[in-house]
Amino acid sequence: MKFAYYPGCSLHSSALEYDISLRNMLWKLGVELVEIEDWICCGSMAVKSLSRLTAVSLPAKNLALTFQNGYTDLVTPCSACYFNLKKAGYEIHNNPELRSKVEDIIESPLSQEVNVIHPLQLLYERIDHNLILDKIVKSDFTVKVACYYGCLITRPPELNTFDVSEYPESMDELLKLSGFETVPWSYKTDCCGSSFGIIEPEIVLNLLYKIFKEAKDFEADVIAVACPLCYANLDGRQAEVSHKFEMEFNIPILYFSQLMGIALGVPESGIGLWKPMVDPAKLFA
């Protein structure tokens, strides 16, 4: 199975391990991601602050490119990209006036709807779970995982139909299938504040503290994420949170695709465990 792939800017730089582990684990399941050429930045959390029309036009261009490349399904792993692409498609489809305006701006037709799919949705809905079970080569883990979905994968409900907004389970189920234990914590979808990670770190440290504290209370060994912005924030700022709140956390952050990759027998070089700020080595000792 081939899917069009929109990696987004982070997966080409700070989140290389998400890109690598995702491609490799999906390959094991017979799925190939084909990157669309000349995709442009979706505008992330910044452009929508400045101009709504620009914030719709940039993702719309990528939707048009996807269709021009012969695809109607587009897989995108970053929460911000996923949200922006999906929201732009939704707005264009429900507002003919906006659609014709955006078509003039990007100089491409937007007649065909493109399904924007998060990898969790791809694995949860489009791939036979018996196939995943068949392909698993290692499942004797003693690692407890806190699945952290962050804010934009499951919200709002009109955009995201594959899981529940307030207490999602898709990542939990996929990781349980892969031999991990997951914890029933209540901070799965609480915002980590990563869009203010650089600008207002003090606010962000308070948000992160609540997330780490709850994961620690549930004795989680690792927090699994599905977004490069969450990863950068939870991994990069964890030492500062420990310092500020005088509490040692030392909870490694991994992408769900890294954990599933290990279970599916992707070699270590194909998972990208080489760069985190919080060392995950103790997990697999």
């Binding site: 982070s10 730089s13 442009i40 910044a46 602050s49 100089e107 934009l152 207002e200 760069k275």
Partner: protein, 186 residues
């Protein structure tokens, strides 16, 4: 959280209409159940709670709303829009307020947030994609915050978590057209 006296306010009902038209929402649907503010992760940092902002829009308190820090501190996390019993998309309203505040030349309370977003858009305009390291550097230059997070930055560079590679698209013709068309739209 600030307490406000709503009786002293200048009423500008047309402001409500402007916000509704721009956001595609109907702000008068808000009946002050306060669920948005109860779940908002950023509420402690805001000068007015999201439910107060909705009320102030209804009352036409344009100046107070557009000079508020709240519109800039909304993280667009969508917690409120999931919980709003009237399906009001509050983050969408906040984004429209930012756009109106910028257009009308209001003094922006959260200048760093605005500066970060502008640095981002300017890199996107030039390269089509974002190179995280250079985007951060450009923001730091614009806001003269060279030492904040320097230690973390160095650690991340050493670990290779921040790449010095420039991300750019090869063919910028389409990108240029989009931005030219956008500027003739506005």
């Amino acid at each position: 959280m600030n307490r406000i006296s709503i009786t002293r306010a200048e009423k500008e009902p047309s402001f409500l209409q402007i916000v509704n038209d721009m956001s595609g929402e109907k702000v008068q649907l808000c009946y002050q159940c306060v669920k948005c503010s109860a779940g908002c992760p950023l509420v402690a940092a805001m000068d007015f709670n999201p439910n107060q902002i909705m009320k102030m829009i209804q009352l036409g308190m344009k100046m107070e709303v557009l000079s508020s820090s709240s519109l800039w501190l909304c993280a667009s996390c969508e917690t409120c829009s999931v919980r709003c019993p009237n399906e009001l998309n509050i983050p969408g309203v906040m984004l429209s307020l930012r756009e109106i505040a910028l257009k009308e030349g209001y003094e922006i309370k959260e200048k760093n947030i605005e500066a970060f977003h502008k640095a981002f858009l300017s890199m996107l305009r030039n390269d089509g994609r974002i190179s995280e390291f250079y985007e951060l550097a450009s923001y730091k230059m614009k806001t003269a915050q060279f030492f904040k997070d320097l230690g973390l930055g160095i650690k991340m560079l050493r670990k290779g978590r921040l790449s010095l590679k420039h991300n750019r698209i090869e063919n910028t013709e389409d990108l240029n057209k989009i931005f030219e068309n956008l500027s003739s739209e506005s």
